[in-house]
Symmetry: C3
Subunit: 263 residues, 3 copies
């Protein structure tokens, strides 16, 4: 199984070209679109999204990830293997979150042009390198045939929440289709630091004094905080858009204050 995660959008033929290339090499390939709506050149968004989704795919899936502002320059093309999956992507840190979670078994720099298209352009390695390489891997080509093993890869410096005794300062990292504002603060962090049951949240001039369990727990139009389906704390408006109601944007800070437990 080959999945595709890109910032190519769906108005062009770029994704179609990649699929055509894959099917030319492996007519029996199963291709699944994860998303093509990563904001253009946004490596951080891509790193969060692929990390949240790849765990739900079958073992040994091959994930092509192309958010690639450096295409055509000296940046390397790589294949990374973990116990769970194989990732085919530019070496620009796009898999940082995954490699914080899972051990890297092997990383290969793609240098063997035999597994790329005959003409490699300077502007579209998704079609010319990543798609054909992934297709060849799905046909059983050994990673070691693709190029030399390398030991250093590019990692992003992902913004982490600041955790103090009485407060956690996090950040909005993604606004979803519904306008839900997703933070980089995990429920696990709130639990391990005893904020979980005793907190006040401050964001966008609002105070929220508890975590809801689900959207419809409050009235329609209410602002609430809850644990989203990936374990991140999320600010939502029941049947509305937190992003437009509260004017929240990616990068905005969010403050969690520990409150005294009720007596």
């Amino acid at each position: 199984m080959i999945t595709l995660t890109t910032d190519f959008g769906l108005t062009d033929i770029y994704v179609g070209e990649m699929k055509g290339v894959i099917f030319q090499i492996n007519p029996h390939a199963r291709i699944v679109d994860i998303t093509h709506s990563i904001p253009p050149q946004d490596l951080f968004a891509a790193a969060f999204q692929i990390d949240a989704v790849y765990q739900y795919f079958p073992d040994r899936s091959i994930h092509i990830i192309v958010v690639d502002p450096g295409v055509g320059s000296q940046r390397r093309s790589i294949v990374c293997q973990t116990a769970k999956a194989t990732f085919v992507c530019p070496d620009n840190g796009i898999c940082t979150k995954i490699f914080e979670r899972e051990e890297l078994i092997r990383t290969i720099e793609i240098t063997n042009l035999d597994f790329c298209l005959p003409q490699v352009s300077h502007t579209f390695h998704g079609r010319d390198i990543f798609a054909p390489v992934a297709a060849h891997i799905s046909c059983g080509v050994s990673l070691t045939d693709l190029g030399p093993e390398i030991s250093n890869i590019t990692m992003l410096s992902i913004p982490q929440p600041e955790i103090a005794e009485d407060r956690i300062i996090g950040e909005i990292i993604w606004i979803d289709h519904f306008g839900n504002a997703i933070t980089n603060v995990l429920v696990e962090t709130l639990k391990s630091t005893s904020f979980y049951t005793n907190l006040t949240i401050q964001v966008a001039g609002m105070k929220i004094d508890r975590l809801s369990r689900f959207y419809n727990e409050s009235d329609i139009g209410s602002t609430l905080a809850l644990v989203n389906s990936s374990g991140n704390i999320e600010i939502a408006v029941n049947q509305g858009s937190a992003s437009s109601t509260l004017n929240i944007k990616t990068g905005e800070k969010i403050l969690f204050l520990k409150t005294p437990p009720p007596k």
Copy 2:
């Protein structure tokens, strides 16, 4: 064959997560996206759309439909079987139009967590319940293993046209990608009430005095009424957008007046 109809959009990984879950359970599943662009939480739109499309799919297809403002609350998760297909969805009336058309053979409340993901979140039953249940059904799991049969399900009160001797008052129920304004008045209704050949249509301050057969029958830019591909009366602008030209929105009324037959 498993189809997906949701309000999740395509900018997030939600649809990708559902597909990953399905493939983990049934690696040979065939998954078809119907649409992920149902307006958020719009049960009426979902009810109309799934009703119009499911008939075109092979018999015994499994349709996952997730527009789910009540996720995590007490609303039930159900599987509904008709002679034509199986529907896996929240019990919120989303299949109302289908069950007006086709007899319900069996409805099951999903209570057996063995067929759900190990951890069921309060915010994403599409991934945690509906996707795995549909995948298990596609593998041959019997509906009766999923939970108890139930006899009452939630139905929406779908707005019907008001039909009088000399007039029919309908409503715009959907604006499509081209800006065509689709009404809840069926051509069959116009025929059975003898409006079909003798009518004047009033909508958005316009009068239209006949039904066209196809878009290009009039000049480019002309406003026209015709029978759309689902049998609904539709207001269109040839090679333009009726919605933006006439400023028509969903919910707007449309009046059909019976005119005297020509002598």
Copy 3:
């Protein structure tokens, strides 16, 4: 393999209906979406897009292309066969670029209703004619069973660059998802006319004095011209949108001036 290229968008069920129809006829069909975001009724955009992408698909793929302002009128429905692929589409010139590139082996007018849906609407031949015909072809139905061979088909008059001794006047033909402005001037043309290494480009009030090899060759935010992945000259802004930065739109002229070679 059956591909789909349309102007139907993804908010409606139109694409889903086509897929359902195909699977009813050929349950083993492989369907690939190329794009459904051709601008409504834009035959020129469709002609450029399908020409750029079809070459990347396996031989003998069946391409359904539906941009069809004349649906329901006298315009014919056709099947065109080349050495590389089969095209199922309205006879409105949508394949013009392909037939400039490749010889047409055979063109059939679809007249045999046995291979269409039982009821053919006047507004949606994608579902009622093109999808079922393509599905039947994928099952092995002979083209000659679909209708009579015809010898004349509609061709578009595609705008060509004006080439003079010292200048080439081209045109922006597509703005992609990233805001890159793609021209109808091919790198091959610049090479064969000796503009390639000695040129100044004028577009949208800007002067660009060389072709870059890749986006990241200049500073972030720089305007540049390069050869895109289809061989067309493209105006881009590194990690930005040329379209919004320079306010470039489709149809805008672009001037290539030959400069004296450096001494």
